[in-house]
Amino acid sequence: MTTTDTHEHHGHAHGSDEPHIPTDRYFINVALVLALVTALETSTYWWPDGMQTVATVALIIMMTIKFFMIILVFMHLKFDNRLFSLLFYMGLFLAILVYCITLASFRFFF
């Protein structure tokens, strides 16, 4: 949590630590990629039955990509102060941890 330790009062905090915000163009490009990935995701619905496992793995990967693209870009986590990431990832990590263990104890995964 080193970021929070450097906290001597800067004159006008807002101006100085305002994160770098990309242009509209950049966001539109990102949205196009997201749309593309969504299209790919949807296409798995028509993939042949034999490819179920592949589809599942692919879907999880695509989901993760979309998830982090939105979090990092649209929600500015990539550009913003690391403290925000820390707070959010704590929740995300705990959620994945406890719920996966719970599902595992119900023999959900195997």
Partner: protein, 653 residues
């Protein structure tokens, strides 16, 4: 948000903003963290008496075999509500009281980050607590035990409205805790005085911070569980309906994913309190500050991976059991670190056995007993003998009453002069301590024996034919436990008497009665509305101590000498104070918004129309809230820059 924003002063036209600085309105509409803290404390103490009275009734029923004080149904309601009241309406809010009052002071802030939100949390908690307890008069309280295992909690098996009250009430109280956790985390991260680095924060602040994170992440889990249960009870869903294929273990997991972090939510504030009290009365810094802070955070984290130790007999399978067993043992390590550090803080010190110090030491002793029995549960196969017996009841009352409650009482004695300007009577304090300390051992000590001799918990009656003789005379030990409980009650009564006595009789306490070390003692007692005339600049851990003491060379070597008093430190601070300080203004909206919630809940139970009325009130509150600027217009309210209104203020009132 900013002050300069264009916002009309009377946002809803009809209402004037509350401006009173004295009288009941100054309490009901306050957004001052100190007043909110005091109100939290008063309400929590009230619920302690409620929960304690329930405990005494439980003990009366169990005093003799085949006793008939309470019927089976009433008994089940009694222990369910005893636990619910004690955990959610006493210990948690009392910790919130200390946190609210002290946290801004300890980090050198004027208030919490979101003062109105703070008021909202308090009112939601109060209304939620009252709501749960009205179930006693509206068809019976919840009777499923405090972990409310499904399917026994479903409408089929518990058809009275008790469980509905419990579910909705906890949901309401949970909102309060969630909001205040966000509020306090932001406060600690963002409102610190210049120089107050994280590793200069008092340990109490640290532990409260860890607790808020636990709340932040644990509450949504029980929220899910409660929603599932209320959808089942009120809207016909079947999440725990085995006939439809549900697995009752789902509830257990959800409950304990919340429930285990919850027990650390209960204990960590007390860890923080005694980490303040011990150094002060040992005249030494806390031994291994970093280790204590770090182990507190570790406990908070590891606490997320052990929940299923409450389910060793549930049949979840040997792999899960073994894994959780080992994880649970791990948690004894960081806790052990703390015990050692506290002991070593005393080591080499100059110990001053005030009531606060006695409570702190008593806390270590009793908590260690409870913690060690906790470790004996962690060995899963052994736990299959212990679980759901009085051995467990012994464990958790030692850690909760012996640990958390004793710690909170240490806090009372330590901070009372700060909060009310008068110190609690020390003689009464010692009576208070010894009665509670002895009472706790006599109440919960025998329960270790009772459990291992086979007395299960949650039993309205215990048959005579199952008591042995001599050492194994369970009837005898049960009777001892009952006498012990009344000894605790006597101790608590002494405390209440002490509060009254102090309020009426005691003289104003000196500014720094304990020769304390942290920032909250660097301001007036009770502090002014704006806490500090000038926000202090912090240079070290234990800032105040460093301002009071200096190392001087004497003929015997380097010695610590008191070079200035707290009064002098304070005078110097006040001299550089700001002339004009704006504080956030009181507001109607928190209490309005909070009031809507129990109405919604009553509506869900009795009449949906009422629920809509409640929702309308909540919306109204939210609407007024958003449009209201945090500081009143000059015409509405002049923030006091001096403390004239604090003098008229009745601190206990």
């Amino acid at each position: 948000m900013a002050l300069t924003s264009p916002a009309p002063s009377r946002s809803l036209g009809a209402f004037r903003r509350p401006v009173e600085a004295t009288g009941w309105k100054s309490w009901v509409f306050t957004v001052d963290h100190k007043r909110i803290g005091i109100m939290y404390g008063a309400v929590a103490l009230f619920f302690f008496l409620v929960g304690g009275t329930e405990a005494l009734l439980i003990r009366l029923q169990l005093a003799a075999p085949d006793n008939t004080v309470l019927g089976a149904g009433l008994y089940n309601e009694m222990f369910t509500m005893h636990a619910t009241t004690m955990v959610f309406l006493f210990v948690m809010p009392l910790a919130a009281a200390f946190a609210n009052y002290l946290l801004p002071l300890q980090i050198g802030a004027r208030d919490v980050a979101f003062p109105r939100l703070n008021a909202l949390s308090f009112w939601i908690f109060l209304f939620g607590g009252i709501f749960i307890n009205t179930s006693w008069f509206l068809g019976g309280a919840a009777d499923g035990g405090w972990f409310m295992y499904s399917p026994n909690s479903s409408g089929l098996f518990s058809p009275s409205h008790g469980v509905d009250f419990w579910v909705l009430g906890l949901q309401i109280v949970g909102i309060a805790s969630l909001l205040s956790s966000i509020n306090l985390i932001v406060t600690v991260l963002n409102m610190r005085a210049p120089g107050m680095k994280l590793m200069r924060m008092p340990v109490f602040t640290w532990m409260v911070l860890v607790v808020q994170f636990l709340l932040l992440f644990a509450l949504p889990v029980i929220t899910v569980a409660l929603f599932l249960l209320s959808f089942q009870r009120n809207f016909g869903a079947s999440f725990f309906d085995v006939d439809k294929g549900a697995d009752p273990l789902l509830w257990q997991h959800l409950f304990w994913i919340f429930g285990h972090p919850e027990v650390y939510i209960i204990i960590l504030p007390s860890f923080g309190i005694i980490s303040e009290v011990l150094p002060t009365f040992s005249r030494k810094p806390l031994f291994g500050y970093k280790f204590v802070v770090f182990s507190g955070a570790t406990i908070g984290f590891v606490g997320w991976g052990v929940w299923a130790h409450h389910m060793f007999a549930s049949g979840m399978g040997p792999v899960s059991v073994a894994a959780f067993s080992v994880a649970t043992m791990l948690i004894a390590i960081p806790t052990g670190v703390k015990i050692c550090n506290w002991t070593l803080t005393m080591w080499g010190g100059k110990l001053w056995f005030t009531s606060a110090m006695l409570f702190a030491i008593g806390m270590i002793v009793l908590f260690t007993i409870g913690g060690l029995s906790g470790v004996t549960h962690a060995v899963a196969t052994a736990d299959t003998q212990q679980t759901d017996t009085y051995h467990i009841v012994a464990h958790f009352h030692y850690v909760i009453v012996g640990g958390a409650v004793m710690g909170l009482f240490a806090g009372f004695y330590y901070w009372w002069p700060k909060i009310f300007g008068k110190a609690l009577n020390e003689r009464l304090g010692k009576w208070n301590f010894w009665l509670m300390f002895i009472g706790i051992n006599f109440t919960f000590g025998p329960m270790h024996v009772l459990g291992m001799q086979g007395q299960p918990r949650r039993m309205v009656v215990w048959p005579d034919k199952l008591t042995g003789e001599g050492y194994f005379d369970l009837a005898f030990w049960n009777e001892v436990a009952t006498w012990g409980a009344f000894t605790i009650a006597t101790g608590v009564s002494v405390f209440l008497w002490n509060v009254w006595y102090t309020h009426r009789k005691a003289e104003v306490a000196p500014l720094d009665p304990w020769d304390a070390r942290t920032l909250e003692w660097m301001t007036a007692s009770p502090p002014k509305a704006h806490n500090f005339d000038a926000i202090p600049n912090v240079h070290a851990l234990d800032e105040l101590f460093h301002r009071k003491y200096e190392e001087v060379d004497t003929d015997k070597g380097v010695r610590l000498k008191k070079t200035s008093t707290a009064e002098e430190v304070l005078a110097a601070e006040e001299a550089r104070g700001d002339a004009h300080i704006h504080l956030p203004s009181p507001s109607y909206w928190p209490i309005v918004l909070a009031f809507g919630l129990p109405i919604i809940a009553y509506g869900i139970i009795f009449n949906l129309i009422m629920a809509f009325v409640g929702a309308a009130i909540v919306l109204l509150g939210a609407f007024g809230w958003v449009l209201e600027p945090s500081v009143a217009e000059p015409g509405d309210y002049e923030s006091p820059s001096d403390d004239h209104h604090m003098k008229e203020l009745d601190p206990v009132g």
